[in-house]
Symmetry: C2
Subunit: 338 residues, 2 copies
Amino acid sequence: MIKAQQVVLSSRPHGPMTPQNFSMLEIPLPDLKAGEFLIRNKILSLDAGFRQWMNAGASDNYLPEMPLMAPVQSIVLGEIVESLHPAYPTGSHIVGRTAWETYSIADGSDLMTIVDLSNGIAPEQYLSALGPSGMTAYFGLLKIGLPRPGDTVVVSAAAGGVGSLVGQLAKIQGCRTVGISSSEEKCRWLISELGYDIAVNYRKGPPLAQQLRDAAPDGINIYFDNVGGEMLDVALTQLAMNSRVVLCGAISQYESDEHSGIRNMWELITKRARAEGFMFSDYIDEYDEASMQLAQWIAAGQLKAPLNLSHGIGSTAKAFCDMLSGDSRGKCLVVLEA
Amino acid sequence: MIKAQQVVLSSRPHGPMTPQNFSMLEIPLPDLKAGEFLIRNKILSLDAGFRQWMNAGASDNYLPEMPLMAPVQSIVLGEIVESLHPAYPTGSHIVGRTAWETYSIADGSDLMTIVDLSNGIAPEQYLSALGPSGMTAYFGLLKIGLPRPGDTVVVSAAAGGVGSLVGQLAKIQGCRTVGISSSEEKCRWLISELGYDIAVNYRKGPPLAQQLRDAAPDGINIYFDNVGGEMLDVALTQLAMNSRVVLCGAISQYESDEHSGIRNMWELITKRARAEGFMFSDYIDEYDEASMQLAQWIAAGQLKAPLNLSHGIGSTAKAFCDMLSGDSRGKCLVVLEA
């Protein structure tokens, strides 16, 4: 009998999440029923956005509150090792929403796409530039941000899984890019590795408003917001006329009991600006086109998809908490086998 | 020598504005210089939006901070009674931005449009449905709100100069309309006079969130925001998917030293919603078309433009303060002659 190791949410965090909020379980897998298939998970995706559903009462119209003592929901890449579902044959690989666990049983009713690993693309990319992070960066920038050559694009959490892609995509569109990050080291990396024109360390130096004014003296045309809260509030004061605020994530708010209030919302009136939220999953009809375009840019060397890998199911909780605290660069993944 | 009576801002308000923040002056008018013309003002428009520039340091990219002891800027309708400017002949009527004063000298460099009062339209309409309030309601709803038949449109300050028009325009577009106001009397008026489907009194009854949920059980498709602050924050929690928040004004914030923080901004993400600011003056190329359309709806009895008139320059300060405190219905104007 196969046993699955699972990372479960064992207590709800008060303030910043710690690895102690999680526990490991080992459970025997039940036999498959008709229509089900067994996935051996190979790579787990760590996504800050999932943090919000770990809070009590966090149900929204996207996902319900995560239950305690159940494996933590996650996007994964895995191989189907046993199947009673004709559309998901043994031996094929999938990207889907299962959980932080070594094996998952699924029936295809949730997000579950078969991917072809024979085409030379590294499997990790299906959870990075060609996965939810890539789709989020691509559709958020192109559909909501509407970049024009010469625009100044400012990205918060610029070194993160989404932000690391957004800056490069904006450069491809002919924009000037400014990344906001939390350390000198990451700021250097934003410029040297990801081609950001300017990198701003919000934890050091002059107040962020001043740093943004210096970086974007004619104002911000697109603010790609992964952080929310106070950083968004400051960015609103530096918008250019007719600018766009891409509301992608609110990582600063997930770990806070009380959401920081946005006091500068009316800047949107005097600047005739727009703030708009989205989810990559709204654009499912355009995934194929986006994937092809992103793969082309990767092949041409125009787009790098930096990875932050940890290894083994036991590393998952700590890697997730490190990511939330800002100690990571690039897309955070947990590799479950060598 | 002609003397002009002026209402000047004599002190900056701390908290709610009172008539004591204004004084009356009488000044002798200088002789006209070449290129100038003298306007006898007939009607003054009271606009909540101008309140913000009365605060210290309130300069923005639309208007500078209003100076103390200078006449208060305002949109007016007046008659040119003397002219040294060929494009603005004596005897013609103008709508323009001058000030709360009985006579103004202008040179046409600021907003100044000649209007034809011989076509049977009441002069007051040029400062109401066919003036800035009408343009604000029209372009805000149609260009930013993008109403579709069956949409639920919620309007804050629904009895105000702009709000009283927005609800009716939304009905013409086939929408369901919900007006928010501050008294039972005004709520009854919203329904009986302006055709709102539902009126919500935010000062009485269940919490506003509950009242909005009851009024819009499938969510708000368009929130036309004249108020900002806490009311906007509550409305964000009741948005429908893909909804639009028309950021028109923030009357709740003009009289507050500290802007109320918006804590529910991330609702825009899960609802894939958009909040967008605008100013009617951005659509100057489309004024003629809008005016004709609005005049047609008025002539057809589909659009009422309720007026709240006060009389005489001496009534201006009190009428403005009454409007800010919510004690008015319809567009507030000061008529300077019988």
